[in-house]
């Protein structure tokens, strides 16, 4: 069960310009094999499916996976709002269809943004292909699931790096910079879990791929504030033992890993203007009398 909050994980600046193909590319971080839907769903299923989780030796690993799942939900929203901001204004605003307000959108890479959605995010990747449950790995074996998660986060990191590199847009960079840091926490967390479970030392594997978060100015700024050291204990009552895994030194810069109770503070979600040419949401195209009636019924 969850309580949902109308906040996003980090404040998103407005894009430098509307950018339909940029939005199409960012979809990879939403619905791609290594996108946020994948991380969220993997940990959601692994936590539900965890057998023998109440065993003394097992519980901290359950707590870790369940707890990270909760943070991934906020990453879905962060990527979603980024896509929505990039798509805002990508066609001609107005209520008259006969002026061809979507002229030119047929040349964009993801036509579903204009035909299926109202210039908004969809659970698809950068090729417009839908996210699929095939992306979920939940073998039931803890060590194998942790290894999977470690790989998944490294793959996700590579995708974030590459999407970052496509653009100077401030929204995309703020989002990917933040996710590189927070995803980086999850990379380390699963490595730590494997280390605690087996005694192996994975520290020398970092970073995967071979480029540091510090090379990304937006990520570096957040790491300078220590955001890469913090595991947020989403619900301190229920996932109490995450600190038995998340502890010690960060493998890349040797800083101390710390557990912080509660969610990140976050920010209000960005405002998404109406796009009347897509009747999105349609309220704006309604005459005043009808609006009054709606209001009357709402207030009834």
């Amino acid at each position: 069960m969850i309580t949902r909050f109308d906040r996003v994980a980090v404040e998103l600046p407005r894009p430098s310009a509307p950018n339909a193909n940029g939005a199409a590319a960012v979809q990879e971080l939403m619905g791609g094999k290594f996108g946020e839907l994948s991380t969220f769903m993997n940990y959601q299923f692994q936590s539900m499916n965890f057998r023998g989780r109440d065993a003394k030796h097992a519980r901290p690993f359950f707590d870790l996976i369940a707890n990270i799942a909760a943070e991934e939900h906020s990453h879905i929203e962060l990527v979603g709002y980024t896509i929505n901001l990039l798509l805002t204004g990508t066609s001609t605003r107005g209520t008259d269809p006969s002026v061809a307000p979507l002229d030119g959108t047929e040349d964009n890479r993801n036509t579903l943004h204009f035909i299926a959605s109202g210039q908004a995010a969809l659970p698809v990747d950068s090729m417009g292909r839908p996210w699929t449950g095939d992306n979920v790995f939940s073998s039931g074996n803890l060590k194998l699931d942790l290894l999977h998660n470690f790989f998944l986060e490294c793959g996700a990191r590579a995708n974030k790096i590459r999407v970052y590199e496509t653009t100077n847009d401030p929204t995309v960079r703020a989002m990917t910079g933040y996710l590189l840091v927070r995803g980086g926490v999850h990379v380390v967390a699963y490595a730590r879990a494997l280390e605690v479970l087996t005694g192996a030392d994975l520290g020398k594997l970092f970073p995967i791929p071979d480029i540091s978060n510090k090379a990304f100015p937006e990520a570096k700024a957040l790491e300078d504030q220590g955001l890469h050291r913090i595991l947020f204990r989403n619900n301190p009552q229920d996932y109490t033992r995450v600190g038995e895994v998340w502890k010690g030194k960060h493998p890349e810069d040797g800083s101390e890993l710390i557990v912080q109770d509660g969610r990140p503070e976050g920010a209000p979600p960005p405002v998404l203007e109406e796009e009347p040419q897509l009747t999105a949401p349609g309220i704006g195209a309604i005459d005043d009398d009808t609006l009054r009636e709606i209001l009357k019924r709402l207030e009834a």
Copy 2:
């Protein structure tokens, strides 16, 4: 953003017997076109994608969709734990692979439960096909999205009815009985939203399909307690205006619709025994010395 709680929406009794094909059938309510992943993801995307949501006439509809999304998350977990309980004990427990502990599982309909997962839920339907983002509809037009959601919930209701009818198993019946009632709330909620938005009267359409929740003993018991009248305001601070839509009389029995703040109380998640023949989770197969080392590293 969410806070996650280690609770399930309603207490689940233990199954009358392990039941692999029963679990395979219940997967339809997880990963089917009309399963809980679909309802959750549809409302998640529609709420992120809602343009112009801060307009006076629009906000209650945003609040409603965003709020219902939060409840759907708990339904994923309820279905997941049902599947996991049904799969518990469906093969021979033990750590010796040479006795063919999975003998006979190759005749089960969903072999992925034994090969891909550790006798646990996957994001697939009753045919073992993965859930797909194609199941998400988010047109941006409020009226059309509400109509979709109304249809989606009616389709989901049909699926729950049919899965209910496959079995006398108490776990499946407790789960489907509960979901018929709560899904029934969502059917009415989206109908109410369409009514408030347009002035139409959809009351005579109920029930879809043509059979009342009262015909299902487990659902009737909950409706006798009034559970079908309550919309849980998941987060009273953020989704404040849901009551402007959820109000008036229930179209089927004329009872008063009420908004209740907070999540349902729920129950602790059921215990899932280890399945060592699948090394799920593997802790149980580890020798005592190694266990001690793990514990030492946890406590370090």
Copy 3:
């Protein structure tokens, strides 16, 4: 454009018994790669897409493909009704869900027949996988399209043979027997088209696979009546020149190929009983007062 008639291509006897897995197998002939949806859609697209069709040398080939498309539509219906007949009575009839009327259906191979449909056909194959547009080949090159069609019909023939061999059921055998003969006509028709187009002699390739229609009693009975010699000119006004291809001797038995104007006479579609446990269609579960109101509204 089409005119549709409420007839099926050949009279279907009732099945010897309800047979859910038999129905699942027959789905291959509906939604499989070589099923009737494939033949219909291939020829439908090839006829719409035919470039330069009015050229003197090209038109008879267009006529042939367009004309066969029309017959394939009736094959979809024939397979559909066969599936529906097999599924009739495969669960316990009644309106009380609490007696678990679908008990046991979770062991059937295609649970979608009971959850997604009302014990009725779906556009899926024998594994329950949906038919897909990937099954359509329409290269634009006439010779290559004809070669494809020849291969497609041979593959379809192999599938019909194998479905036939699964059962003694009279409905399945009547349907497959009929389709072996009519599909056999299409095999020969596309071979003839290639011969007329290129001058090659394909006669010695028959039959593919290496077994004659005469080995199937239900097919032999129809061939004894000459049904394998007839190409039905679906619309004599519009597809006039099919006889320039369909002429000469049948490559297997040397009988004369003939063109016959109009559709086959066909038979009334079989009656499909209601399945109230699936509220299919729901009318039967409605009380008398409501029924009267429906009637009143119909007659208004």
Copy 4:
């Protein structure tokens, strides 16, 4: 069973210019989730699968669905010919491959139009993804199927609106204008069916999305002629009772709904020039001697 006619539903003007990406976008109306393949196949399956259709209270609904299916077939062809016209001339005509006649086509959004087909329509959507049987809903419950169809037609309407808005091209506008009107008839027809079945009044829901057909000049012209008031009784002998549902006033402009026997008159299909660089169809590239031999074989 069907009789097929070599006519299209409405006359299509030639495009203002060849337009490969325009064709790619129009594919959404062919093979998209809400495209004409979906409407056709949904009603085709629902009509075959209709249980208890001969009951007095049920038959008009069967007639309606079966009858609309027949009209949808003509919409497939209308969209197909539009795509084919747009693709005509999008590469360099000629028979010499060494001049790179397809140069530049690798930048088009749908390369399958040039590699898989001969610059012609495919059963795919605007992203080039194949139509799938997953798009068919056939629950067996009449009320639920009608609700689905109502939603499907509203979703299809949204897609037509958006494709219309992409362009000033006369072919696309003639096609979408016509389909908005005829699809609009189907929206109303399924709403009427729900009203007759349940007594609900859905009139105030219109239009979905919130924009009238009258805002589209090409649609308005047809509605001025009353085309939105007419249900064509495709086969007056077999689908006799459609008028028990299609009657009363149009919910948007209050005009009288009328049943008209027979198909729309339609128009001859447009001429599709050969594209020799794709050997489509290949006849044009053949030397005179060979053509003479083909002709001789045709005339033999």
Copy 5:
């Protein structure tokens, strides 16, 4: 480029009995996400795509991946022949279709084995779903690709273990026993590669999942012969430097890792009897005169 040999990697005993559902389960090791098609294709693509491979520090890693790809090809064949042996004799042999020789096969889990193939292997998984290119990971980053491969081989190991556990059948056990050993070599090889590349020590991670190959009698017998210590240098001229990675001690039993030039000796492929009821291959159903003509044409 390859030279192909008509040998299989290890001698396969005949199955204890025909076993259609057993064959369906083994398909997971062929076309599943972690099946042999996946390992083969992943390494095939990674080796073709390896940028900068001739660098002194990079070449041994290229050699390793390219070399292992070659061995995976033989694993495809080993799994394929196992499936084919299990399917041999699963229906009634004969040439008369009217005796329903496939009776009962419609209850088998994978009907494609009887309809699409001639009781033989297909590139599908244990649910009959096709292998897909989505299973290939080729990021271009060496460290990430190696991590992927290490995970892939561990996942594949889990699948082999679980398939082994379904049965006592000697063919399946011989095959899985062999693949556990050889796949185990690849697990270690990719771990070694990561160690050599980064200096990390992954030795304590083994085994993943938490069960030793020694627990499987057929695998233990082969490890007792040292088969788990050998990397076969498939082509000593071209993949010369694999020994710079494959060296040192085996992480589980401390034995010395050795490179052996050439392929394993292997064994002749098993004999697959004809299945005339499926006309597979059809030669056996042909009359003597025709056979003589075929022979004449072969010898011409």
Copy 6:
């Protein structure tokens, strides 16, 4: 079993310029329905699945299919290297992500080349859709499989022709020219096999589509050297009887068909430069100290 060689089938010139969309188009020849993965996998499965292959009348057909499979493997590599060469240099080289080195790549048709791979080939088609096992046909009936293969090769030929026509690029033309000739050999080989098996004469069907290889300068040059007449006996010891099928005259130019033992000589694979902005492979971005350590570990 195979021995793999680090050679490509023919020398590939460097592209005239980096060309991302060109690479996307060439992917059709890799992972398209008629791409090289399809030909390879079809013959691989058909050869493993061949029942009764040791019969005197059957063996030459097995030898042929198994032998051609081996050559197809080299075609995968040829297409792969072509894609990799075209993608080399399509973004800005360097190790600083903050300069947006992938700027503009979001407009390319296949973003997976930049996000999922390191500017390198993937098992997908020209629309970025993954190759699927659905592309494999292996019915078990020899005649039907041969007919399929004949059609498959003709379809593949059409695709090669069309990809050739998109460009003047020397790499693409060298590759397609070579494959037109070698694929042409396979077209003839399967036609010959059908002729030997049945006695039919398929000679007049050629060429399919209606354009000769001689019209393609790069193909013509190779045919002038006789490359279209040669079947390479990949392994003379194991596939000895291919010459009983591959013999007689070439159907197009009447030249003598000959069997040549061994693989084509081939050429060294092209050099693929590093792309450091994608950390592909990452070695180049590593500091000298670390490189020295890697070398030390390699040489240890």
